[in-house]
């Protein structure tokens, strides 16, 4: 599929449809592709598209929309939800984007490979169903289904919500219940819940990777960096601040988060940040009806709508801690 994408990109550059290409470039390691602009056919020789191209390119289109000319962007099915949401919020310019919807067979999680005790990785090559991991200690064959990103197990579907053309086949990777993780926490006692989140959030180093990668967290200046709330923080200094940051971050993206899973993918501390966003998604679905942010660009988000009969906040204590 990679060759197909490169060839089509070269064509679109050549015929002037686009002036640049936004995609993934080979990184220092095979499992570390980088997001990059490609301005010429030559530069496209470094283009890659493989199982480790999890990065969602939608957010980069905010900046690309400000550049002269049209940008070719490759979006996986789940990435298109983010693009739609950004369109709703007037953050990207549809006319400045030429979207190639790329097929997706699920993306891979290097941490899961390392978790199998594999170290000293020198290279990874692979077929759609399995990868060969070369290390200084030898080669290992691993089935892709065992090392997929969490988000791919609960994939929203392989249908692109917005595109100009489609390239490549997809394969369904959903094999888990998206809300199982949230439900497991809901079932805990308050003490267990608190202990769980304290353990997870105390790992937070406030590197802001989650915020920087999140397509919904696209504020020019985050409230945690501004003086508007007396809340500017460089790092957590107390046990509370990481909670404050993550609650507010999740609240700010509630109803806007497409559940793309990038926050959890990039967290260097491995905090399952999607559990915050999915709690809001679950509540919204249960209380206000099913809603999928980014499904189309003309939806009204749940937090900017209401019905006369909405549940009262007291429902939280009524249904109690399950």
């Amino acid at each position: 599929m990679q060759e197909q994408l490169i060839n089509r990109a070269k064509e679109l550059l050549a015929d002037g449809t686009v002036v640049r290409v936004l995609g993934w470039r080979r990184g220092d390691m095979d499992y570390n592709p980088e997001v990059a602009y490609f301005n010429s056919a030559d530069e496209l020789n470094d283009f890659v598209y493989n199982g480790f191209c999890g990065a969602n390119l939608s957010k980069y289109m905010i900046e690309a929309s400000k550049l002269e000319g049209r940008t070719l962007v490759f979006l996986k099915p789940c990435d298109t939800y983010s693009f739609n949401q950004l369109l709703t919020e007037h953050r990207v310019d549809r006319d400045k984007a030429y979207i190639i919807g790329v097929g997706c067979r699920g993306k891979l999680d290097i941490e899961k490979i390392k978790a199998q005790g594999i170290t000293g990785i020198t290279g990874i090559t692979g077929t759609p169903d399995a990868v060969k991991v070369s290390t200084i200690y030898g080669d290992f064959d691993i089935a892709c289904k065992d090392i997929r990103l969490e988000r791919c197990h609960v994939c929203k579907g392989k249908e692109h919500r917005v595109y100009d053309e489609l390239i490549g086949e997809s394969a369904d990777t959903r094999d888990a219940d998206r809300m199982a993780g949230v439900e497991a926490i809901e079932a805990m006692s308050p003490e267990e819940k608190f202990a769980f989140f304290r353990a997870e959030l105390s790992k937070c180093i406030r590197c802001n990777a989650c915020r920087n990668v999140c397509p919904a967290c696209s504020c020019r200046k985050c409230v945690f960096d501004s003086t508007k709330f007396d809340s500017a923080q460089k790092a957590n200094t107390t046990s509370f601040e990481e909670k404050m940051f993550h609650i507010i971050r999740a609240f700010h993206v509630a109803g806007r988060c497409t559940d793309c899973g990038e926050c959890s993918r990039v967290c260097p501390q491995g905090i399952p940040l999607h559990l915050f966003n999915r709690k809001f998604i679950k509540d919204i679905n249960e209380l206000y009806g099913d809603y999928q942010a980014g499904e189309s660009a003309d939806q009204r988000a749940p937090l900017v709508s209401y019905t006369f009969e909405d549940a009262e906040p007291g429902i939280v204590s009524e249904r109690g801690s399950k």
């Binding site: 949230v182 926490i185 809901e186 805990m188 308050p190 003490e191 267990e192 819940k193 608190f194 202990a195 769980f196 989140f197 409230v223 709330f229 809340s231 200094t237 107390t238 046990s239 509370f240 601040e241 909670k243 404050m244 609650i247 507010i248 999740a250 609240f251 509630a254 915050f276 709690k279 809001f280 509540d283 919204i284 209380l287 206000y288 749940p302 937090l303 900017v304 209401y306 019905t307 006369f308 909405d310 549940a311 009262e312 906040p313 007291g314 429902i315 939280v316 204590s317 109690g320 801690s321």
Partner: protein
């Protein structure tokens, strides 16, 4: 933990956000009708319940509040037509998140109190304060730097 110096009893800090048009006036009516509620409750006047940012609530907890209550006009009676509908969704989701994080749901409450409901304001505050006494000090969300012990 906030304690009364003389009695050694737990004296919670309770922040009540009241909308200017209904609930603040309801609190005034409770006052002019001499309907007592605990002095632990301190009221902050906001134009509408929809002015209450989740940041304010978390900030209050961070600074050592033991309970936060938001009062607004009854749904349908908002001075600004729709403000309390948005507040209702926002607070429902926020409270649910706090519950999810293991913070006792009794520490947060929304109550609709009209300008004519002095009695309801007073009983609500009495109930809420009693609940906070029952739950005891908030240790899960407070900024421990603020405390001496």
């Amino acid at each position: 933990m906030p304690v009364n110096e003389k009695t050694g009893e737990f004296t919670p800090k309770i922040v009540a956000f009241c909308c200017n048009w209904c609930s603040y006036a309801g609190a005034d009516l409770a006052g002019s009708s001499r309907l007592a509620y605990p002095a632990e409750v301190k009221i902050i006047r906001v134009p509408c319940s929809c002015r209450v940012n989740p940041m304010f609530i978390l900030r209050a907890f961070e600074k050592g509040a033991d309970g936060v209550i938001i009062c607004g006009c009854h749904p349908g009676d908002c001075h600004y037509s729709t403000g309390n509908y948005y507040a209702r969704r926002r607070m429902t989701l926020l409270f649910s998140m706090l519950d999810y994080l293991g913070v006792e749901s009794g520490r947060t409450r929304v109550e609709w109190v009209s300008a004519a409901e002095g009695v309801k304001f007073s009983t609500t505050m009495n109930e809420f304060a009693a609940k906070i006494h029952e739950l005891g000090p908030n240790v899960r969300l407070e900024d421990l730097r603020c405390k001496n012990n």
